[in-house]
Amino acid sequence: MTYFEAFGLEPKLVVDVDDLQQRFYRLSRELHPDRFTRRPVEEQQQALEKTSVLNDGLRTLKDPIRRAEYVLKQHGFDIGEQRTKDVPPELLEEVFELNMALEESDREQLDGFRTKFAAMLGEIDGGLQGLFAAYDASQSRDDLQKIRGVLNRRRYIENLVQKIDSSI
């Protein structure tokens, strides 16, 4: 059973998170192991399985990035690879300067980079919404491919932010 199926949802990338949360509460009330203490062991086991799918599913679908990664994985895309290795070409210059600033632990510069990267992430997230909607309409692999590219870039920038945060 996919996470979407567990919640009775279409496998779409645009999700109404409030609705998802309400479905989660409703299903939890029915399926939680606490409701099956007096039932036979097999039913208890099923409740445990179903509830864990529900909980794992909520965690995954609630977050747009995890949700997109989940859908990519379902379609056979490799995710989680090339985390920090290849620098996206358009970021080459920034990464070079950032490394200098990190080395000198130049607080002012680092703060500047942080703000800049945060803005980039915001931009990416905004753009993702459009890509999600496009995929939901087309259901095409090409759109997933595009999303995958954006997610990789996003993860790369996120790692840079983490690097800055751990140094200041």
């Binding site: 509460y25 009330r29 192991p33 606490d34």
Partner: protein, 614 residues
Amino acid sequence: MSTFQIDFGETKRIIGIDLGTTNSLGAFMDLTGPKIIPTANGGAIVPSVVSNLGAEVVAGENARALLVSHPERTVYSVKRLMGRSADDIQEELRLFPFRVVPSEGVIRLQLGEKTFTPPEISAFILREIKKNAEAYFNGEEITQAVITVPAYFNDAQRQATKDAGRIAGLEVLRLVNEPTAAALAYGLDKRQNGIVAVYDFGGGTFDISILKLHDGIFEVLATNGDTHLGGDDIDNILLAIALDDMANEWGDAKVADNHQIVQTVRRAVIAAKEKLSFVPETSIELDYKGKKYQRALTRELFEKLIAPIVDRTLGPCRAALKDAGLTPEQVDEVVLVGGSTRIPLVRQAVEALFKAKPHTELNPDEVVALGAAVQAGILSGDVTDKLLLDVTPLSLGIETMGGVVSKLIHRNSTIPASASETFTTAVDGQSNVLIHVLQGEREMVRDCRSLARFDLKGIDPLPAGLAKIEVRFLIDANGILNVTARDGRTGKEQSVEVKPSYGLTDDQVEAMIQESFEKAEDDFRERQVREARVEADRLIAAVAKSKQSDAFAQLPEAERNEIDRVYNELQVVYHSDDYAFIRSKMTELDEVTHHLAEIMVNTAVSGALKGTKI
């Protein structure tokens, strides 16, 4: 236990138990709400103290009385040792009077001539509560329970608690986190929706949980804490000061080595600490075999001394808020739990952090047990409008190359939670794979807590890298890890052997359960003997009296001799441990005195008719 009673609808009573560091309590759900189960003397609290007197092991109030007189045979605060290794607890062992026997994995405590593991000690406390419950419910057997644990307890500590239940003859239907239980007891869901912080500062542990309430659903957003921070630490500060003073005043540098003195001082500092919650000044006072010690203690100084401890609770509070994605201002209500929250400084610190006046309406000592009873009501189906959704307090991961931990389930994930991972072989023909599972937030294996090693056995011999073993890690609603494995090619269930790093193996627990059954039989036999002797006493006294009567003198000599013989025999048999033998002799005496009794009754009747006394 319930293999023969696949009960649809048959309702066994489930009790709730707060197995605390200092005190434990039992509670149950009745039509009007949760209630505390009274102890034999009508109190609420069973002190979490166990003493091995050689002939028997006592727990609760009776054991607490032995803390000072038999310090080497008496254990307290055993909760701090649950699911831990000897290495973990070196620091606090110095403060415990009892000895820890070096042994592999699980700790063993030497109490008199026997050794006990922490789950066995806890089982004695649980048995005491079970006994109280059974007495309260007129002999109804209690076999199912909900037991509370600190939210920040790791897998090993939870498993140890569950083992304790099993050893005590209780099927633990659920382990509930203490702060969550407290939230249930407060019935805060009446406000329907909102954010609640539960600050639980007990005898040995500290927990903070942030919950979201939604129409009867108690959803824990984040939890944090310190399983080694509690009132005990405050006591130890005062204890050290007093012992230092006494060493000087009494001119005895070894005063701290005398366990009886230490326990006497412990009692005195606890009394002073508790008083300071209500008065601005008191004194630590004690008298040990005529030697006196007294020291004035103001609340001001006390607060200075304990400020670092109170501060240590605030870090976890902030971390939990951060994980929940909330600011202190977004918390609608704060609930205080645990005896240490009676301390004014603690209350001030909580108020200052959350900028809210905390709830203290319920007795902080009882609120967790009451919440456990509510959860028992949920499990039994009596309570249908509430549901608890708790989280796992620590991230779960596996060891990968270079001693790095790869996280599979992150902390504060709603449980039950699961993760899957595929493993393969590294060498041609390899038939087993060892998976090292850890809990903790750090990157490296050495900084995390080793949970267990899972041995995937009987893998079909294949060239390296071809085998695919799909392993599923599932944290259940108790916060305990279950691991199952499947051969990815054949779909066949793969056998997994668990080697817990610190806990008891299943076989060990089984052996302890077996032993406790035997113990229960011993107890049963002992009671039978005691009862038989009480009745034999009565019979012997009655026969002795009738032997003085005229009626006895009128009996034929043979009959008198027969009565004398059996009478004397019963007095000998009386001291045997065989209750059946005592009973059979009593029956025999009854029979041989039957005629005598008849005569006596007749004499009495005719005497009464004549209006004269015999």
